[in-house]
């Protein structure tokens, strides 16, 4: 189906899940009549009634805590936190309750909740609307953290998230919402815990997820012209993390660059670099490098292009992968 978008695929996934399972309820800020500020819940209230899809008071801890209670009563809540940075008021509920309910109660109570968060930048948004907050969630045991990069994955991963017995932080790259693509719905792609090779290559592996995947793919295309054949792996589910697909790719190529939008320091890329290094040390011809956002608060719209990983920055980083077997000049100190 041409002209399909991630936004439409997410909407279809919600509708199909609500159709299949009447325990699924959708709520958040502006998700009812309006259909969400990004229209991801468009038409759901009209189709399923305002008891299945409804607006809440503006209170993110309330939204998530309410979902915990609903889950305890046997429902399957899917909530929307309107923007990445507006998820922070809910963090206590997420970290102390959503993530831990199963553990605290030895699985007597569980929290099969999906928390959808439009996230990341590249849309010219003003401050507090462009954060990449995945590391906070990925650092919290008990949560699954998922971010689609393709239309088919948006549909399939959201369906899997709603079916999952555990809570899922579902991070939707805003930048990719409205790009149209070929996709046949309902699509079912690989399950949680599986990374996917989006572009095979032999010379180096680019590991990316969410909004960074198209950047990595574009960089790989550009590298081809320069005579380098790059493999691109899409992580898809940060938790659970697929070590084996990524390690297999790096063992094959011998070089690895991790690309993500979030600030690099203590980011998910640091974790991936460490894991690759632990597993692929003897196959590596160069240190694992990262292309990440700068370690700054997300910049104002006119400056965001400097912050975000770009094709050029990825190519420059790939160029530093010790192709001539010389140490990286950047790390060589004199004296």
């Amino acid at each position: 189906m041409a002209g399909m978008t991630m936004a439409k695929a997410l909407n279809a996934a919600l509708a199909d899940a609500m159709l299949d399972d009447d325990r699924v309820v959708v709520f958040g800020e502006d998700v009812g009549q309006l259909g969400g500020v990004f229209r991801i819940t468009d038409g759901l209230a009209a189709r399923f009634g305002d008891k299945r899809c409804f607006d809440t008071p503006l209170a993110e801890a309330g939204i998530v805590g309410f979902a915990v209670g609903l889950a305890m009563s046997g429902l399957r809540p899917v909530v929307e936190l309107q923007f990445d940075a507006f998820g922070y008021p809910a963090f206590e509920q997420i970290a102390s309750h959503v993530a831990k309910l199963r553990n605290r109660t030895r699985s007597a109570l569980t929290a099969p909740i999906v928390i959808r968060i439009p996230y990341a930048g590249g849309i010219g948004g003003v401050e507090h609307h462009c954060d990449s907050s995945e590391a906070y969630y990925a650092h919290t045991p008990g949560l699954k953290v998922v971010t689609p990069a393709t239309v088919a994955d948006a549909y399939s991963l959201l369906r899997s998230a709603i079916d999952d017995p555990d809570p899922v932080i579902f991070l939707e790259p805003k930048k990719l919402y409205f790009a149209s693509a070929e996709a046949q719905l309902p699509a079912r792609t690989e399950p949680f815990g599986r990374a996917v090779v989006r572009r095979p290559g032999t010379d180096a592996t680019l590991v990316a997820y969410g909004p960074a995947v198209p950047v990595a793919l574009a960089a790989a295309e550009a590298a081809q012209a320069e005579g380098r054949d790059l493999e691109v792996v899409d992580v898809r589910t940060i938790v659970p993390f697929d070590d084996s697909t990524i390690a297999a790719s790096v063992r094959k190529t011998g070089r690895c660059v991790v690309v993500h939008e979030a600030q690099g320091f203590a980011g998910v890329g640091a974790e991936i670099a460490a894991r690759v290094q632990e597993r692929c040390f003897h196959s590596l011809h160069a240190p694992v490098l990262r292309v990440a956002g700068l370690d700054i608060p997300y910049p104002a719209p006119m400056l965001e292009h400097t912050h975000l990983p770009s094709v050029d920055r990825v190519l420059d980083t790939v160029a530093r992968l010790q192709w001539d077997d010389q140490p990286d000049e950047r790390w060589v100190t004199v004296g």
């Binding site: 309330g62 915990v68 009563s73």
Partner: protein, 382 residues
Amino acid sequence: MTTTSRAVRRKSRPAAPPDPARPFLPTTEQIRLLDPAGTPLPAHPDYPAPPVETLVELYRRMVLGRRFDLQATALTKQGRLAVYPSARGQEACQVGAILALRDEDWVFPTYRESMALTARGIDPVEVLTLLRGDWHCGYDPAVRRTAPQCTPLATQCVHAAGLAYGEAYQGRDTVALAFLGDGATSEGDFHEGVNFAAVFKAPVVYFIQNNEYAISVPLSRQTAAPSLAYKGVGYGVPSERVDGNDPAAVLAVLTRAVAHARAGHGPFLVEAHTYRMEPHTNADDAARYRDADEVASWQDRDPVVRLETYLRDRGALDDTTVARVAAQAEEYAAALRERMHDKPTVDPLTLFDHVYAEPTPQLVEQREQVRAELAADQEGAG
């Protein structure tokens, strides 16, 4: 100004519109059915006294509750419990709340509610699991319809709203009762929870035990409102204040609050004014923030003595029954002491069992590593 002109002016003034907040406001005086000496006050128009058999049962469970609480404090001294937050002095609230509920109703307790949970019939060893330290929650919350004891202040207020709404949504007439303290009313989640419950007409009773302190911080630092029961009015939630050391009044007010919620009128908020006789926990030194006179003044308002006096005066309780209840309490404590004597066995490998329904590959690896370490330790020891 003459009296005539005043009368004329009064007549010509248009009638004030009814105060829309009025139905939500608490009474200025705390609801009280028994005076501190246990003498019944004139019948209250809105709060009839609970049946006398119920009050005898309330008395019995309060005596057991107090004995349990003393035993738990003693267990900290023997190193059997890591910590214990006592509820001594708050027996009327702890037990009254439970008696106002049905078994199918849900309770959302805090760390302070060990006594309430034993009054609910939960095995005291399972109640103390959290504080003994072998797991976070010892009882099965789904079976006992009792959430795990909540430590992040006020966060349970929102869960109660969600649970109650979810139950009503599925056609069940469950009520959820959320316990919280005076200090917790300053937390955002209290306000979000009450507001969600009000907007969605969720059948929740928010039950604030105002014991005057949040660890060391006095009530005056939590609010400038005339009472904590005023917190409901801004959310359109009817609220009431009750003497938290008057067991009959606590039970009467909560019974009405539960009935209000169950009838589909939405949440109800109750502030009970009480006092914790012990420090915040056994690890706290209350002498640093309150003086002995203050504590002593509350000794005269003891809820157990108050109810016992009332029931004796009514002829509903005699020496034999009092002695029998005391003996039951001793047995209860002795059994608990006995069962808490041995250190529980813990299995490190269970650490990986309840993180996800299916452990991630990383957890499988870590489990294997711990298993190997344990095996090596065994070999070293053997």
